[in-house]
């Protein structure tokens, strides 16, 4: 019963946050100095007479006040219609669905890799504080945490695609081959470098965080007590450290979904990988307002669900929460 009420509370909060995201992003689109009719027309701007412009504005509701437009958009949204993307000439929901299917491979594998590797590296570095291994891991993590994602992607392309020629430079499959004809191996071959780059960046965050938690534990009363019982550092790290570091690591892994998505936008841009990130950039540069709004809402949902899942997991795993939650 209590669990149900807590989940219901979270869902209400989620709906509220999503409504706010819709409001904020719609507001931002409205104040933009870019004329929606120009954006709709794109390069054909010059070929259209003022009467035709007025007709377009009327057809898409651009001439109505912002509040009416928002109400209209929200009504559509509730009925599941996200609008029409003029860049891809498709319904927004279809664009997002197709693009996300491709991105999910990239995001999912990079996320899993960075979470697992990042956590293990952090635990090892924290347990062996001050050793050469720790220094190597922390230096790596500090450097990658400060590295611009897109620059790393550029370097990867330069090294592995241009100089060594091991991996393709672009896209999700060979140019000129239909999507359904691309074999799994080719697909993975094209995914390899983007996933590696994205994961390499994601690792740093979790490693640093886990290491900090491990150091905190290693200096706590718990560790001192264990040392007094004759435990070695490895013993303390294995028995106490893993438990104490894994809880925040889970939260962080889910909380970093947003950052990971941001990274995927840059990486997809560099590798010209036709995922959701690339669509976001295209929508922004070519003023595809409905698609931009749709993506903002979709990612907000995605990130919030991730956070909710992390909170719930935390409550299940941490024995202290069960009492405090009453």
């Amino acid at each position: 019963m209590r669990v149900i009420r807590r989940i219901a509370k979270r869902l209400v909060r989620l709906a509220l946050v999503l409504l706010c995201v819709a409001l904020v992003s719609f507001g931002l689109m409205m104040v933009s100095p870019i004329d929606p009719v120009d954006a709709y027309l794109g390069p054909q701007m010059a070929q259209v007479s003022p009467e035709q412009r007025a007709l377009i504005a009327q057809r898409w509701g651009f001439d109505e006040p912002a509040v009416v437009q928002f109400g209209h958009w929200l009504r559509q949204l509730v009925s599941g219609d996200l609008g029409w993307s003029h860049v891809y000439n498709q319904p927004v929901s279809e664009v997002i669905a197709q693009r996300f299917q491709r991105s999910v491979m990239l995001l999912g594998s990079a996320w899993l890799l960075s979470a697992l590797l990042g956590f293990s590296l952090g635990v090892v570095a924290g347990a062996k504080e001050g050793t050469k291994l720790d220094k190597a891991i922390s230096t790596y993590a500090f450097i990658t945490a400060s590295t611009p994602a897109f620059w790393l992607a550029i370097l990867a392309v330069l090294l592995f695609s241009v100089t060594l020629g091991w991996t393709p430079t672009c896209c999700a499959g060979p140019v000129g081959v239909l999507n359904q004809d691309v074999t799994l191996v080719t697909r993975l071959h094209h995914l390899l470098l983007p996933v590696a780059t994205l994961a390499l960046l994601g690792i740093a965050n979790i490693t640093l965080h886990t290491r900090a938690r491990m150091l905190e534990l290693m200096r706590s009363d718990i560790a001192t007590h264990a040392f007094a019982q004759g435990a070695s550092r490895i013993d303390v790290a294995w028995r106490h450290g893993l438990r104490h570091a894994s809880l925040p690591a889970i939260t962080l892994a889910f909380a970093s979904l947003g950052e990971l998505f941001g990274g995927s936008i840059l990486i997809e841009h560099v590798f010209a990988y036709p995922g959701l990130g690339q669509a976001t950039v295209a929508a922004g540069l070519r003023s595809d307002v409905p698609l931009l709004l749709g993506i903002a809402l979709f990612t907000a949902l995605f990130v919030s669900l991730g956070n909710m899942l992390a909170d719930t997991l935390y409550g299940v795993i941490d024995p202290r929460i069960k009492v405090e939650g009453t």
Partner: protein, 278 residues
Amino acid sequence: MLTIDHLTLQLPYYAHGHASWWKRRWATCLDDLTLQISAGEVHAVVGASGAGKSLLAYAIMGLLPPAARLSGQLNYQEKPLDAVRQRQLRGRELALIPQSLSALDPLVRTHRQVTWAAQRAGQPSTGARHAAQRALDHYQLDTQAQQAYAHELSGGMARRVLTAMAHVSQAQLVIADEPTVGLDPHQRQRVLDALRGLADQGKTVILITHDLRHALPVADRVTIMRDGKQVETALACAFQDDGTSLNHGYSQALWLALPDNAFTTATISKDKQGVSVA
């Protein structure tokens, strides 16, 4: 058994609001301590908070923070007790009952923690589980408490779990750091009796407490500490009557300040007022 020879301990600190705020300074926390503790005795170390009692315990166990500066000599059973030997002996020969209840891991059930303590003392896994069971039973922790997490235990129960963890180690030297805080008189007596029992078995106990009253009934000798310095070491029986058999004004004052003894400054003999009594 254990000799402490001119032990001095310094810890780094930074002065606040000072022009040279970036400069590290050293605070002397233990000042030229010399003690001899023999097998089979309960040796009480008594002093106010901040007197350096816990630091003494950590120095013996070798658990000081890495930044600490230590000089002097520790000997355990006639052999120097250096960092390497401390690491070998911790948990097997030397045991510590920590002062802080946060020494219990909040994510691990009680029974498992005690089992780990037994394993760390060198017992095989099944033996360790039985030893843990026996120790927990001995300190009257029921099945529910054994399956509980630290936050579900009362202060007194947690204190007894810590004692049980030192108990399973079979150590020759047990350092109990404020083991009676938060216990009711009955439980306090049980813990103190248990410590006395260990000494009667030929083991050595260092009992650290701020309350002279709790130390005297079980201790053989008492060391009074103040501001990191050793005020004096006396037999427990020297604390009697008006305390004239004590050598130092501060220990005399501590004794006379107990509720049962009517305290007046006039009773402290003039020549023993080496330390001003605040």
